[in-house]
């Protein structure tokens, strides 16, 4: 949103504001002014110019977030016309860090809205649930349920259902709780780097076997908690990264010796240089920093599933 007026109430709003200060209207979905291709003031609510037909960039072409000593970077890549990945990164209570990455399914309508809704709803739900005293696994399951509802509610009659993947991590104390639906991944990077998730996809293909969406039926997330002393980092990513760099060791070698933001940017850059076929999203949460000298366990031990 550039500086302008709220489309709902007309109050003046500033660039970068997500909601209208006066009426609360969600400005992220508002038309972004004149068409970037033909200049006509005719961009429809679905993002296509009603004069020349061009799909407008959503303002998510390249996004960076830094919070709680962690970082997340999302990029459109080279082949897609918009970024259909979404991410959220929030501090929870008691030093917890919450990260969510969602990848909109390109063949579904408005996948960018689906992924953004899922990431926003899930991250907020986890923070609230943790504050209410839930454990990380219960908070994750509730977050997936609410995110699935939000995506399902975006379906409109007469079209396919919007859909997206989901992966989240809650880093709290010595524990990492990972939840996922679809083929977005979580990695442990450190001593004995490892993939923590198992894709919900037919092996060797990108055919999802589970996703969030009105056509997905009941969504049952995988939820796992790992315990580790670190040091290292938890990495969440969409397939735009792991299509090129699936190996945990290679990811660790690239990511571990910089600040999270620099590392996330570097991984995104590598995926783009490798072809940038898909949208790329990377979130990095450092783990056990400052305790490197007294590491006892390098590889995270799984506590439960």
């Amino acid at each position: 949103m550039v500086n302008g007026a709220c489309p709902a109430c007309g109050t003046r709003v500033l660039a970068g504001e997500a909601f209208c200060e006066s009426c609360g209207h969600d400005l992220s979905t508002a038309p972004a002014g004149p068409c970037t291709a033909c200049g006509a003031c005719a961009v429809g609510p679905d993002g296509y110019c009603e004069n020349c037909g061009m799909l407008q960039p959503t303002g998510r072409d390249h996004v960076e977030i830094e919070a709680a000593y962690s970082a997340a970077v999302s990029d459109r890549g080279l082949r897609h016309s918009r970024n259909e990945d979404a991410m959220a990164l929030l501090p929870g209570g008691q030093g917890a860090v919450v990260a969510v990455v969602c990848d909109g399914v390109s063949s579904s309508p408005r996948p960018d809205e689906a992924s953004q809704a899922a990431a926003d709803v899930a991250a907020a739900a986890i923070v609230k649930r943790l504050a209410d005293g839930d454990d990380a696994q219960a908070a994750t399951r509730e977050a997936v349920r609410l995110a699935a509802d939000a995506v399902a509610a975006a379906a409109r009659p007469g079209e396919d259902s919007p859909a997206c993947t989901y992966v989240s991590a809650i880093v709290l104390g010595r524990q990492v709780t990972v939840g996922w639906v679809g083929d977005s991944r979580a990695y442990w990077l450190g001593g004995q780097s490892a993939l923590l998730t198992e894709d919900d996809a037919t092996p060797g293909t990108h055919m999802l076997t589970a996703w969030l969406g009105a056509d997905a039926g009941e969504v049952v997330p995988h939820v796992r908690t790992f315990t580790t002393d670190g040091p290292g980092a938890v990495l969440l990513c969409s397939d735009g990264l792991w299509n090129y760099y699936p190996e945990p060791e290679a990811l660790a070698a690239t990511a571990l010796h910089d600040t999270p933001l620099v590392a996330a940017r570097r991984l995104v850059r590598l995926a783009i240089e490798a072809g940038g076929h898909d949208n790329i999203t990377v979130a990095i949460i450092p783990f056990g920093q400052g305790e490197r000298t007294d590491t006892t366990v390098a590889f995270p031990k799984e506590r439960s599933d």
Binding site: A37, C38, Y48, C49, E50, N51, C52, G53, M54, L55, R76, L78, R79, H80, S81, R82, P157, G158, E159, H277
Partner: protein, 429 residues
Amino acid sequence: MTDFTIRVDQNKYLPAGSQEVHGIITVEASGPVRSASVAEAAEVIIIDTSGSMSYGKINDARKAAQAAVDTLRDGVHFAVISGNHQAEVIFPGSGRLAPADFHSRQAAKEAIARLRAEGGTAMGRWLRRAADLFSAHQAEHPGAIRHAILLTDGKNEHEPAPEFDANLAYSAGKFVCDCRGVGTDWVVAEVRRIGSTLLGSVMDVRRPEELEADFRAMTEAAMGKTVADIALRVWAPRAAKLNFVKQVSPALEDLTGRRTEVDALTGDYPTGAWGGETREYHVSVSVPPGNVGQEMRAALVKLVQPATGEVMASGNILAQWSDDPVQSTRINPRVAHYTGQQELASLIQEGLQARNDGDVETATARLGKARGIAERAGNEETAKLLDKVIDVDPATGTARLKRVVDKADEIALDTRSVRTVRMRKDPES
């Protein structure tokens, strides 16, 4: 109320610099079988009573018309027109449509029983007469289903071409007309023009005794329609060119020339009345060249009721430029299937034309190729009909025109060339 859904099948990826986009639009209508507005529906039965109908054909036509009258639901408004070089409303006598009940059906059937075959053929005048009846009805019942059945056995010989054109244009949009040709003296192209303009089907009826069942089935189908005057509304970007809009299932119908402008970028294409049914449309758009990664909407297709502006369903045809040849060279199977069905129909029509013109070489090439497509695409009925006009050696593929062809088979092949089959195997089911 009838519920509509639109589904778009396409490959949106274009190689850089490429401009042509194709999509197959599947429109599915579902909803209550019985319409709430049965009492407003209107049906006109038009029977050819020219001299050539004598010798038994008129007898079967009478039975067929009576069967159609029996099939009308109570309350449906109807009339019967006897057509030769003039048009006479033989029922009711009031000059307007009469609601169907026991007594009106009896009276109509008695009037039909008195039909005699004499005089010439002027189909345009029959249609104009029907159009006036429907217009009067529509003034009192806006939104009513308006349907006619036209039966003919001959050439339109007693009406000058300009008058026929004017009468047909006058009737367009006022009702949907399903046409039937009986015997071998009618001209497929002529009757097809009526069916196309009035958005109805055209079929050949080989034996007059088959008319009765056919008329009953047609009337039943008409009684199943629940919503009238639906249009396909197509938007295309300012710099784009809408190449064509065609119905491709259940039969081919080029709607491109039937556009009514809504605004500079949007036009309505008529589709007539709908019941519980599925139809498919092929839309092609040429868009300005774009950059790799850029996505655009090449067309927005809506199903609308133009009278009220109500949008029943909508779907996007998209274009996205890609430098990945795996993406951009893939042809959507449904687009490929219906492109093949259109080619098949053209080959048959051109082949039959060449055959009648004495151009054996062209006829053999076209019809032989058609036989191969029909076989591969699953057009079994068409393949059988082709076998009656051409021999193809299964081993060598060599085609040879048959020396003797039953005129009824040639008419059937021509008439049914526009009927398509759905994809044999739906990759998504």
